[in-house]
Amino acid sequence: MKRPVAVVGVGQTHHASRRSDVSIAGLVREAVDRALLDAGLEHKDIDAVIIGKAPDMLEGVAQPEQYLVGAVGAHMKPMLRVHTAGSVGASTAITAATHVASGLYNRVLTVAFEKQSEGNTMWALSPNLPFTAPLVAGAGGYFAPYCREYIARTKAPLHIGPLTMVYARENGARNEYAHLREPVTVEQVMETPMLWDPIRFGETCPASDGAAAMILACEELAKKGPRRPAWIKAAYTFAEAMWVPNRDQVSPKAGQICAGKVYEAAGITDPWKEIDTAELYVPFSWFQAMWLENLGFCAEGEGWKAIDRGDTRFGGRLPIDPSGGVLCTNPIGASGMLRLAEAALQVMGRAGSHQVEGAKTALGHAYGGGAQYFAMWVVSSEL
């Protein structure tokens, strides 16, 4: 990036299975208003708006950003709509960061949302299309075989998935915005029905309504306050094809490359030591172990051990998803932005009761498609 970019305001909605108290615009505005308030700004201070969400079939409105232009204060401003499957919230924020980095914009609002309760998530994500065999039952049906492959490769014991959920829920309980905030035990998770063996019901993310927003600004404006900003040290999006012979879906190459580029640009050589906390996109519990390896925090086969040791637990050596993560809150389109926003809150020192003490450098991460789309940024308390 040509010039420094900072997060100067963060806002999110309260997330729930049904936010039937608000319209689509009302939900989006709840996050946007909070981000503006957080940054001490008004709509007139914003130069452009970047909107993201997952498939339009979730709400049944085609290209809803066109309807939302007025709601997000984008009238007579540049507005773009991003869609990169599950990673979209993160790639949307990165798109906004490019705007500021280019020198052509000084303050950009970015917002991502999903209001899954308007329709039916399972149907919207995998409708029955012609010429293809309907075989995959939802995202879990797609990803469970790769969780199994991970377990087989690494000989990870079977309590790791449930344990990951236990930590996530502990964290969610501390996050006032999280959708699921009830603590659970390993035994309780183990007792939940097996949906897509090896993934149990208790190891899956919820379907949420929610939105997240951020204001990104150039150096000069970020330094004006009112808050201490989070500086974006590096941000990249990478994607890979599906039909590549011997493609590794347990540790996708796009994830490795994206992480490598982000670390390189941020001057990080040992992420385990130099990153204080990470918000990773973990829709099924086993993915935390998989991403720890894919993103270079742990050597191959070692990811689950970090979880087992408690290193990734709140208060551990490398707290993962201190917000509770996707396992506690999943408004699909917003989930990636929440990861990036939560990482920013950590280095701003403003994550409230889920603040990782002394966090100076954090990674925000999201993925989507058949583990094909990756978007990440590293934020720091220092310019």
Binding site: F131, V136, P145, R148, M194, W196, D197, A241, W243, V244
Partner: protein, 166 residues
């Protein structure tokens, strides 16, 4: 009628049935693949450069970016690369639960296909297991995905060299 304000209690929902007719195109690659199933043949396309075989056939290899011009036949047997045991139904399919959904790498192919595994206990399924297609009986196949009913543990050995030219 003059009122001082609109009613306090909102109308909670606007209901809308989205109704969109589509007229989908399979494309020649997929059409050839599906029609060949009627003859119990599974086709793939071979990359002009790397010679790797994609099943179902695709127009190009994303890896080499070269076209996959040549159609070849692959075996209806292969091995499970990975799988999961599913306990929730698939929309649009009537399957007895639980069932096994697996990635199966057919002999002669370089890309696995998704497949349903039956005729064995779910706990006996394992990675690397050899499986074979169970076809709809002759005369009932229509040239669509349902021509392969499912896969089952192999009961014969895969014969011949794969892939084969067609």
């Amino acid at each position: 009628m003059k009122c001082s304000a609109p009613p306090e209690t909102p109308v909670k929902y606007v209901e809308a049935v989205v109704w969109l007719p589509y007229h989908y195109v399979a494309g020649d690659y997929r059409a050839v693949y599906l029609r060949a199933l009627k003859d119990k043949k599974i086709l793939g396309s071979r990359c002009d450069v790397t010679k790797k075989v994609f099943v179902p056939p695709v127009i190009n290899s994303p890896e080499s970016f070269a076209p996959c011009s040549e159609l070849v036949q692959v075996s209806d047997q292969g091995r499970i690369t990975t799988f999961c045991i599913v306990n929730i139904p698939v929309i649009g399919r009537n399957l007895e639960l639980p069932y096994v959904a697996a990635s199966v790498l057919l002999d002669g192919a370089d890309i696995p296909i998704f497949a349903l595994i039956q005729e064995c206990r779910t706990e006996d399924v394992h990675m690397g297991m050899r499986v074979e297609a169970v076809w709809k009986p002759d005369g009932q196949r229509q040239g669509d995905h349902e021509d392969i009913l499912y896969f089952r543990p192999s009961q014969s050995s895969s014969s011949g060299e794969w892939p084969r030219p067609i």
